[in-house]
């Protein structure tokens, strides 16, 4: 099979790994521990492409029908 860049697919939203400071700021705004974010597995295709490791936090920016642009976060867990 042809290796295919999933990041370029139109249905895949923009993913970025947050820096330590950004994660800290995120924790402060929501008043949570990282574990309280929704989880994503390390084995998820997007984590493999980005090279995300357990403990990282991903930021997802996607276009939303109702809100125009929406932002979500994922906490990377092993597995």
């Amino acid at each position: 099979m042809v290796k295919f860049d999933i990041l370029k697919h139109e249905l895949v939203p923009k993913f970025t790994i947050l820096s330590k400071e950004e994660v800290e700021a995120l924790r402060q705004t929501y008043g949570i521990r990282k574990e309280h974010l929704p989880w994503i597995r390390k084995s998820d295709p997007i984590c493999k492409v980005l090279g995300a490791k357990p403990g990282d936090v991903l930021k997802i920016e996607r276009n939303s029908e109702v809100a125009g642009k929406s932002i979500a976060y994922r906490y990377v867990v092993p597995g």
Partner: protein
Amino acid sequence: MSVNDIAKSIKSIRFGLLSPEEIRKMSVVNIITADTYDEDGVPIDAGLMDRRLGTIEPGQKCQTCGNRVGQCPGHFGHIELARPVVHPGFAKTVYLTLRAICWNCGRILLKKEDYDKYVLLMEKYRRRWPQLRHKLAEKIMKRASKLQECPYCGREQFKIKFEKPTTYYEEHPEGNVKLAPSEIRARLERITDADAALLGLDPQMARPEWMVLTVLPVPPSSVRPSITLESGVRSEDDLTHKLVDIIRINERLKENIDAGAPQLIIEDLWELLQYHVTTYFDNETSGIPPARHRSGRPLRTLAQRLKGKEGRFRSNLSGKRVDFSARTVISPDPLISMNEVGVPIEVAKLLTIPERINKFNIEEMKKLIENGPDNHPGANYIIRPDGRRIDLRFPKDRKTIADSVEIGYVVERHIKDGDVVLFNRQPSLHRMSIMAHRVRVLPYKTFRLNLCVCPPYNADFDGDEMNLHVPQSEEARAEALVLMLVQEQILSPRYGGPIMGAIQDYISGAYMLTKKTALLTREEASQLLISAGYDGELPPPAIKEPEEMWTGKQLVSLFFPSDFNYTLKANICQKCGQCKKEECPHDAFVVIRNGVLISGVLDKKSIGAGQPESVLHRLVKDYGTDMGRMFIDKAFKLFLSYIDSRGLTIGLDEEELPKEAKEKIRMVVEEAEQKTAKLIEIYNEGLLERLPGRTLEETLETKIMQELEEAREKAGEIASQYLKDTNSALLMARTGARGSLMNLAHMVACVGQQSVRGERINRGYQNRTLPHFKPGDLGARAHGFVYSSYKDRLNPIEFFFHAMGGREGLVDTAVRTSQSGYMQRRLINALQDIRVEYDGTVRATDGSIIQFKYGEDGVDPAKSDHGKAVNVDKIIEKVVGAGVI
């Protein structure tokens, strides 16, 4: 008891396995006799009803704790099993564990480096992702089951086979060897604590060998009380029966072992013991026959007590029976407010509210006490400040009691007009299924409700019953009033729009009243306004000569706020190509300017229940729920009064069509029949062209179906053209009050194609539906097309096909409700604790985030405009005062 009185609060709960020592430690008696009572009815010592297990008879003192019935919690006993048996609840875990360990040394079958890696990983998981620990354990067990040779003692490993529910085999080259529970237990015992932790067990709370029972706890007698029937015969609980079986076999097994019986007999008994223990835990275990009572009824053992709708969880913990509630049949009352509920006097005399006496209400309370429990605004009990209750049923002289009460006493008085109660109709599918109403005590024996609350409750009056609950505290009443009152629920969170509003006759009435032709004399107009509770001045008449006349639009306008502006198209809109707006020939263009209905008629689109972006919606949203309630209570009465005074009825002769129309319909149908015949002909010649993805036969079917459907539609159109404008059924269909044009077409023109499973009717005999047709007939008539209308009557063949279609519809609804009900239940179960926090995030109870902003835009649908945060068009209209439609 208040929150402050609780001495301890539960911080966490830990689940584990009971060790044999623990079971013995908590046991008060070793049960060795299978009998329960002797001839005199005295419990036998060391039997299943031993008095040390707790008391069940009133007046008796517990032999263990000395308490009486209510106080004694009951005490466990135990049975020493002659041979160990596998706990059926852990059979699968035992299997997975056995596979992962060496049969000889009990170590996990992992190479040294793997083992070290997993130990480190497990420790890391414990600290950071405790929720994922069992996943890792699963992975370890899977990995360990692959090794052929133990890396520690070097022994060859055998594959283990598990046969449900509790049998294990080891696959040796010579053949399968059955593993006895004692052997299994011995292997599990060899697992080190460190290894157990890797297998997902906490060795402090649950050693693996505890999954194989050597001692069986015997629940207290209060858990399995025996019942004495009127005849004096004692009947034991199912659990006791099962325990009797276990003890019997256990004793026999013990005797046989002591007597040195042959291995075969011992193994048989052992297996029987395992069976009894398995069914004791769960009598619905797959793979074994359920243990039965002498009558043939399966026993209700431990798992059955907990499981399902009648189980402990759903029946006793999630749902309980309550006091201060009532249930009876409901019936309509268009005269009471939508906020009210009519309560029968008899119910009102049984439901009470505790009211504390103070200097403002003491005289009133004295009066209530004097009235007593049998006269309506009365009272049933008085509670003195010391907590003593005085029952008002018995004393003859209530006057003296009334005089003796002082400030600080509490009176349990009957509910009366204006009290707040909760009203509920099952199934409670959304929050509008329980709403707060104000009481209106009325004669007769049914709960009465305003018709506008039927849609949220999904109620009708064909025998529906509803429940009523009386909040007992000030806080509960306040909360109910502010959050749950009917008027606060007019706008539904399901979609941004009113769920309550006009239905059926309200809509017909509104249409008839606001029609251009509705002119009223001074007397008629006054009569209508009075019945609607209007107490202002009559507006100047629209027509002064020759007689003063008012239009219905004028009367309705009196109930709009004076700055209200709105524009919409009514339900009766014919969807003409070019909209003439205010000049609409059907008067379907509704314009309200400064609170005056200038043009258009009010019908389903503007005041109907469940219609977003309607007049009613704007009224409630812009002027508040009080305005909404006022409009529904007052203006709607106007509509009803009008329809009452005019009358609205349908009769058989109204569904009559002129000859000309009948002829036209006949032609349309005939044409369709010819087209169908033509299609069949083409098909038979093999010239029919296949549609993509269909076979030839399917293509023919679809084409015929299309043709016939079109014919029915055309027939309906013709019919509606020829029906008189005064036709009541047509009025109701057009305004959206009840029925549709299709229903009407069925009555007057043609019923059309009947279907089963979305296809024409194809079942019955070989190659034909009924013996009236030739085999292989593909024509419309032979496959369930009904040419007749209901009025023209169906012929027997048509009637039969119609019944087939009707039956399917009936079965479908029955099946669908149960399926969607279960789906709903599971959905609600999964979502019940999720809520929107003040920061707009959607979170679970542990604070974990599920959505970062509710619905991505943070809009509350109940406060939205049909799902949108703002409706720009309506704002412009409000500011500019002109419609943009």
